[in-house]
């Protein structure tokens, strides 16, 4: 305790601590980060080859592929809430997360077994997404419960950075396997299964279930989970995160905009997200630490300011490489300042026995409004054309960020029961 206290005094005084990251992030968070990294290698391997496999290997039409792709990303919302609730109810974070990781791992073999049946592939992809939905909230709750409250931003930063490393490595591993196997997609799926199984193994061996002894309580009921919204600070986080999600322009539109503006980008379109991910990877930890020091909500809003700047850059006077670099860097800052930081901000507002449910609630709210946002933005793009749509959306986003800064929804955080 003494060490932690003296360190937090250091950081409060702004004394730099070069080795701080390693020492203040608990082993459990690092272990969870490793699990996410390995699992992401596995899942990104599949995501990278899946479109080619479906279209070229199985001869699926654009239409069929579009439907499958929609399924692939649309399943998670409710499953996430369920995963959070079950984890809280039985106090079994590791078990629920492990089931989710395991389900996704088995799905990689499912792809092999599904062969060329479109229905079977759809079912496997849906199950895979279910696994992802189930594990997310318990995992984030476990990160939150394994960290000292004052270092939450840093913990989530470390976790997300490791996660992103996996996302980078996945397509590379897939390429190596394709190269070695002379283009066999089955070999990619099978290797992906082995990697995913390794992730589950790391989880089973290295991750401990909630580290702090919790007071004995009755199992939280569904209504108690829903009652989380009665906690004023948490309710405000949920509402504002959802509202900001509603005015956030989704990634695909950012890349489309960039593609329209920049000729070089056309050929390298699919590489643009790597730019965002790279910046995210570099800044996840520093911005997490900054969030711990100056306030998580401030950094979260700051991330949205970066998005406003990115959008303004995209309609601004620059062109070519400069445009791409600046826009992608700002987009990466947006991710680094929002993704893990939001979870770090939500954590302390939630009672420990309802942490997974609460995290699922924030995530689902945000994901849902972001989905609505893409529909709305697509509609605005069609109705008003590109530039007016971007300008109006950016204006609304800026207004909401300003409002959130003025209202300061987290100026007081009640300590939850």
């Amino acid at each position: 305790m003494y060490i932690a206290t003296s360190r937090s005094a250091d950081s409060a005084a702004g004394i730099p601590d070069p080795k701080g990251t390693a020492r203040r992030v608990s082993g459990n968070v690092l272990a969870l980060g490793m699990v996410s990294m390995v699992t992401d290698i596995s899942s990104e391997m599949v995501t990278a080859v899946l479109p080619v496999y479906l279209v070229l290997g199985l001869g699926l039409s654009p239409l069929q592929f579009g439907v499958l792709d929609g399924l692939y990303s649309g399943v998670t919302a409710l499953v996430r809430l369920a995963g959070g609730h079950v984890a809280d109810r039985f106090g079994r974070f590791k078990a629920v997360a492990g089931f989710g990781y395991g389900l996704s791992a088995v799905c990689k073999l499912g792809l092999l077994a599904a062969g060329s049946s479109v229905g079977a592939i759809g079912a496997v992809l849906a199950a895979d997404r279910t696994g992802k939905g189930l594990r997310t909230a318990p995992r984030d709750a476990l990160i939150s419960l394994s960290s000292e409250p004052e270092f939450l931003g840093r913990s989530f930063g470390v976790h997300r950075a490791l996660d992103t490393v996996g996302a980078f490595l996945g397509p590379l591993v897939a390429m190596v396997v394709l190269w070695l196997s002379l283009g066999s997609y089955d070999a990619v799926f099978f290797t992906s299964f082995c990697v995913a199984a390794l992730g589950v193994l790391v989880l089973v061996v290295a991750v401990r279930d909630r580290t702090k002894p919790s007071p004995v309580r009755a199992r939280p009921s569904l209504s108690e989970s829903a009652g989380l919204l009665k906690i004023a600070s948490f309710r405000r986080i949920c509402w504002w995160a959802a509202l900001l999600g509603l005015v956030t322009v989704s990634d695909s539109f950012v890349y489309l905009l960039l593609q329209r503006r920049s000729d070089i980008a056309q050929v390298y379109f699919s590489l643009l997200p790597l730019g965002t991910a790279g910046v995210y990877l570099l800044l996840a930890v520093p911005l997490g630490r900054l969030a711990d020091r100056i306030g998580r909500w401030k950094v979260f809003l700051g991330g949205h300011v970066a998005l406003v700047c990115a959008l303004l850059t995209l309609v601004g006077p620059f062109d070519g490489v400069l445009l791409a670099v600046v826009a992608l860097a700002l987009h990466g800052v947006f991710y680094a300042a929002t993704d893990g930081v939001l979870m770090a901000a939500a954590g302390p507002c939630l009672p420990e026995h309802l942490r997974a449910s609460g995290m699922a609630l924030v995530q689902t709210g945000q994901a849902t409004t972001r989905m609505i946002s893409s529909v709305l933005f697509g509609w605005a793009w069609t109705a008003w054309d590109l530039y007016p749509a971007v300008l109006v959306t950016t204006g609304v986003l800026a207004a909401v960020v300003l409002a959130a800064a003025v209202v300061r929804p987290l100026r007081r955080v009640e300590v939850p029961a």
Binding site: A48, P51, F190, S252
Partner: protein, 336 residues
């Protein structure tokens, strides 16, 4: 504790061994598509673009010649096929030129090598574009090359799929990587939408007029366009992958007839002058850009056994019944 880490170590080794073993097994399997050709093949022939009475296609019969360009006489398509060394995922030939689309192996995000060949299948020009091969066509004179590629945003983008249809004027060298920016009219009005997708180009004999599919907001349209004026207009709804008849009066295409994902299409023929539509006798769902064998018959491929495909023929007037044309083939190109 010690036995626990021993179990971990053993598991890791087993997993690594399994992954390496499977990859090696897959390598052996895909290296040759089997040791012998399952159909009679005369390998290593110097083929040329089809003269009248000949059909070139992509050989998909299992065996060492899998994926190679092959040739049979149109009158006896069951005869032993002659194959060349050229391998393509999609192939087209017309008017003394050929077009070969091949996905570059093991590259992510996918890249397609597009090769224009002369009448003896010698390379005239080659370039690459992002995406996976979907459709390939040449104008009847062989001057205009057209293709469609699937382009997918990768995982971080999650933009889903889209198609990019491009055109090369082989004579002038003018290359249009995507026709997406082409001004378009639907119902007499200028049409703008962010989700516009084009695929399945087919050229008329004047090397200027072309037809293609446009999809937007859940609908597909037959678009008629001019290459030099560079504009298009929608003619008809629910048309995908049009293929212009040799006399230029009709298009064969796939028409969406069912919401069922496993069998959404039927082949149909549209008379351009009258707008009269005839559904063909093939009742199975066809996902291909049809090719005209002559003025009366269309060819198309359907999935066969073990990842192979077969070329079928059916009368273009809605009568008769489908007949097997070439076992183990795709992308037929007929000499005229």
């Amino acid at each position: 504790m010690r036995s626990r880490w021993l179990i971990v170590l053993v598991t890791v080794l087993v997993l690594a061994g399994a992954a390496i073993g499977y990859t090696w097994y897959a390598r052996e399997k895909t290296a040759r598509h089997g040791d012998v050709n399952v159909v009679p093949v005369v390998s290593g022939q110097a083929l040329s673009v089809p003269s009248p009475g000949q059909v070139l296609f992509r050989n998909t019969a299992a065996g060492p010649d899998y994926g190679r360009v092959a040739q049979v006489p149109a009158a006896s398509p069951g005869a032993p096929r002659h194959t060349a060394g050229l391998s393509c995922d999609r192939f087209a030939a017309a008017g003394g030129k050929a077009l070969c689309l091949a996905a570059r192996p093991g590259v992510l995000p996918p890249v397609t090598d597009i090769t224009v060949l002369d009448k003896d299948l010698r390379v005239l020009r080659t370039f690459d574009l992002p995406g996976s091969p979907s459709r390939a066509r040449l104008s009847p004179s062989g001057r205009m090359a057209a293709w469609t590629l699937f382009v997918t945003g990768d995982s971080y983008a999650a933009t889903g799929f889209s198609t990019r249809a491009g055109i090369l004027d082989i004579e002038t060298g003018e290359l249009v990587k995507t026709v997406e920016e082409m001004p378009l009219q639907v119902n007499g009005e200028q049409y703008f939408s962010a989700d516009v997708n084009y695929w399945g180009i087919t050229f008329a004999s004047n090397d200027d007029r072309f037809y293609l599919t446009m999809a937007s907001k859940g609908k597909t349209y037959l678009v008629e366009a001019d290459f030099r004026a560079y504009r298009g207009r929608a003619l008809h709804e629910n048309v995908e992958c049009p293929s212009l008849s040799p006399d230029g009066s009709r298009v064969a295409y796939k028409k969406r007839v069912s919401a069922d994902q496993s069998a959404p299409w039927r082949l149909a023929v549209l008379e351009l002058a009258s707008g009269k539509e005839t559904v063909l006798a093939e009742t199975r769902s066809v996902d291909d850009q049809a090719a005209w064998l002559d003025g009366k018959t269309v060819l198309y491929s359907l999935p066969g056994r073990d990842g192979s495909s077969d070329i079928w023929s059916v009368p273009a007037d809605g009568t008769g019944a489908p007949a097997l044309f070439v076992t183990g083939g795709a992308s037929p190109a007929v000499g005229r």
